[in-house]
């Protein structure tokens, strides 16, 4: 079932085109990424889906319901969101903030439910601390908890990993991924190719218009790009390049890694996804 459907959406700010004839579909249970550089129209698209931006043309359907402007409440209650510039009150505790967000969203929550949500994102231990005193990663967890209030079926997240250190961004995205495993559909945006590759089931490459849509494998297969395999071994396998004391090889898909390593006495192996940014630049350039 299609959860989010965007049909021929266009948007201009004055003379600047933000979105041009955008089509995409997000299916139930998938983690769908809108990837693009800054200014590509990601925020406009996500906020347009929620009615926070006035779209010039096209149609948006959420759960099969066509929405114009603010979605109706019976649709909205099934959606959690974490949008650009969305933060919480620094002078309230995480707990108090969540109560406020729930009240604004018309979500009836018990203390038990609040505790469960905070626990789900690993933020229960600092629930009673002032939000302003939390680290960036902790804040993001609380924001994610706010998006999860009311047990939404769809999460719309605008660059959820932005402004976090390397470890925290992976932690947050791991959390989101776990939510998908629990049945939640996620539509998120990022400009970070590594995040898109690592977490998205499907990726829409956006730069005002959709340049390509597909899984990582599909995009790589279609537009080029190889997985990088780095092997530390006692002797150099045939056909491998030398790279800083390690031996490096490239394959078209992770399935080929086993084949490459056959017969190799590896001390250490790491597999790196294709550089989707390179793919993006290639598509954009073409």
């Amino acid at each position: 079932m299609v959860v989010v459907e965007v049909v021929g959406v266009s948007k201009k700010y004055g003379n600047v085109t933000a979105l041009e004839d955008v089509y995409l579909e997000v299916k139930r249970g998938e983690m769908f990424c809108v990837m693009g550089p800054n200014g590509a129209g990601k925020t406009t698209l996500l906020e347009g889906i929620l009615g926070l931006r006035r779209l010039d043309r096209g149609t948006v359907r959420l759960f099969g319901v066509e929405v114009r402007g603010r979605p109706p409440f019976d649709v909205l209650r099934r959606v959690g969101y974490l949008l650009e510039g969305m933060d919480l009150d620094t002078a309230l505790t995480a707990w108090e903030n969540l109560r406020l967000v729930a009240a604004i969203g018309g979500v009836k929550t018990s203390d038990g439910e609040l505790r469960a949500v905070l626990e789900a994102v690993g933020a229960l231990e600092y629930a009673k601390r002032l939000y302003g005193k939390l680290s960036a990663g902790q804040k993001k967890r609380v924001l994610l908890a706010a998006a999860l209030l009311g047990r939404p079926e769809l999460l719309i997240l605008d660059e959820p990993e932005a402004n976090l250190d390397v470890a925290s961004r992976l932690e947050i995205m791991d959390l989101v991924k776990r939510l998908v495993a629990g049945g939640v559909t996620v539509l998120f945006s990022t400009h970070a190719a590594d995040i898109a590759v690592r977490y998205a089931d499907r990726i829409a490459m956006l730069n005002r218009k959709i340049l390509a849509v597909g899984s990582v494998e599909e995009l790589v297969a279609k537009f080029g790009g190889r997985w990088k395999v780095v092997v530390r071994t006692k002797r150099q396998p045939a056909g491998q390049e030398r790279d800083g004391g390690l031996y490096v090889t490239y394959v078209n898909s992770p399935a080929e890694v086993a084949e490459v390593l056959r017969g190799v006495e590896a001390l250490e192996i790491s597999v790196h996804p294709p550089d989707l940014g390179e793919v993006f630049r290639k598509i954009w350039g073409s």
């Binding site: 929620l50 009615g51 926070l52 949008l83």
Partner: protein, 399 residues
């Protein structure tokens, strides 16, 4: 109810924990009250008043009556344009009384001095000149900004029965300069002695103004609360709230109002502790004027916020609320007598809801007089501003 409760609680907690907000909303008004309302009012001596009266025997008697209250009276002779002269005197901080040939008495003065003279003159007319008509109700009519309007409709009745009527009808000019104003309670019948009631009256006036300013101050609180909600992205949440934008905006306003009420309460407690007449806050006139100012303040705050969201591209602190608040507060006579302003400006200012609310509350508290008609007009204007703020506020810029 959930949204209202949570937003009010959140606003109160958040502001109580933010040092800056806590200072401006709760500490600053108390400081102002202590400095201007307590310390500066301590050394309040006896009123020293100079009264200029035209050369007539009746006026001389009136002057004597005023002198009995430590007021100095002097005579003004041969004025070509007495009204203009008296208005100019009033504009420099003096009070002036003019009895026209048709018997109408008008008190010209600043808002601080006028009512005292009005009360004294009326009392003189009532007790000294026309004592035999004590059973006639002598209501002090509407006093606005120190100017007593239509004061003679009752006096005329009395004058018609005494020989001295013609004297009063014959253009008596009285000019009084008074450093402080005096108390008159009870609609012109039950006067309080000037020498004992002066201090209480000044304090009552000060309390009324401080209380009303707190309602009026909501324009800042609301504008900055909306800004803070904008910065934290809460406005997007409010836009997407099933409660709808009007309820959401009103909930924000209610949260800000809760802060104002806390501020008002703390001032009332402080006033009570230092022996000021805190009971003025329970006066019906004060309460409705406070509500009027609250509506006006919230409305203007929302309009400022609406303009910020609609017209400005970035999220930056609103620059308009503070200067606008100060301007309106000064113009409306909260921090200085409005009558000192040029006549042209005063004419405009007299239509501002905060001005009317202040005059209404002061008149109600000090005289027990209620000009409901005029007040209702101002109240309706405040309500219209609030409705305008609600209607024009987009909550988010849906560009």
């Amino acid at each position: 109810m959930g949204l209202l409760k949570e937003l009010v609680l959140a606003t109160v907690k958040s502001n109580a924990r933010e040092r800056q907000a806590f200072f401006w909303i709760l500490i600053f008004p108390l400081m102002i009250y202590i400095i201007f309302g307590v310390l500066l009012l301590q050394d309040e001596g006896k009123p020293r008043v100079a009264v200029y009266i035209s050369n007539s025997s009746t006026a001389e008697k009136l002057a004597e009556w005023l002198r009995w209250y430590n007021i100095t009276a002097e005579v003004v002779k041969g004025l070509d344009d007495p009204i203009n002269f008296l208005k100019k005197q009033a504009a420099v901080g003096r009070a002036a009384v003019y009895v026209a040939t048709n018997g109408n008495v008008t008190i010209y003065s600043t808002s601080v001095y006028g009512p005292m003279v009005a009360g004294l003159v009326e009392r003189a007319l009532y007790l000294q000149r026309f004592g035999e008509f004590r059973n006639i109700t002598m209501n002090l009519p509407y006093v606005e900004g120190g100017v007593m309007y239509n004061a003679t409709y009752k006096i005329d009745e009395a004058m018609a029965n005494v020989s001295a009527t013609s004297v009063f009808r014959n253009g008596t000019h009285i000019l009084a300069t008074i450093p402080r104003w005096s108390p008159q309670f009870g609609g012109g019948v039950h006067y309080v002695d000037l020498s004992t009631g002066l201090r209480g009256s000044v304090k009552a006036t000060w309390l009324v103004r401080m209380g009303l300013v707190i309602g009026f101050y909501l324009m800042l609180t609301v504008a900055f609360t909306m800004y803070s909600l904008h910065v934290t992205g809460f406005l997007k949440r409010l836009y997407l709230s099933p409660k709808g934008r009007y309820v959401s905006l009103l909930a924000v306003a209610l949260g800000s109002l809760a802060l104002s009420l806390m501020s008002l309460f703390s001032i009332a407690v402080l006033a009570y502790l230092v022996g000021h007449p805190a009971s003025v806050f329970t006066n019906v006139g004060f309460l409705v004027a406070f509500i009027s100012n609250v509506l006006f303040g919230v409305g203007v705050g929302l309009l400022i916020s609406a303009a910020d969201i609609r017209l400005r591209s970035g999220v930056t602190p609103p620059v308009l609320p503070t200067p606008l608040f100060l301007l309106l507060a000064f113009l409306s006579g909260y921090f200085m007598p409005a009558e000192l302003m040029p006549e042209g400006i005063l004419k405009v200012v007299q239509n501002l809801p905060p001005y009317v609310a202040r005059v209404f509350a002061e008149t109600a508290v000090l005289y027990g007089l209620y000009d409901w008609w005029r007040f209702t007009t101002a109240f309706s204007a405040s309500m219209a501003i609030l409705v305008g703020g609600l209607l024009l506020h987009p909550v988010v810029k849906r560009q």
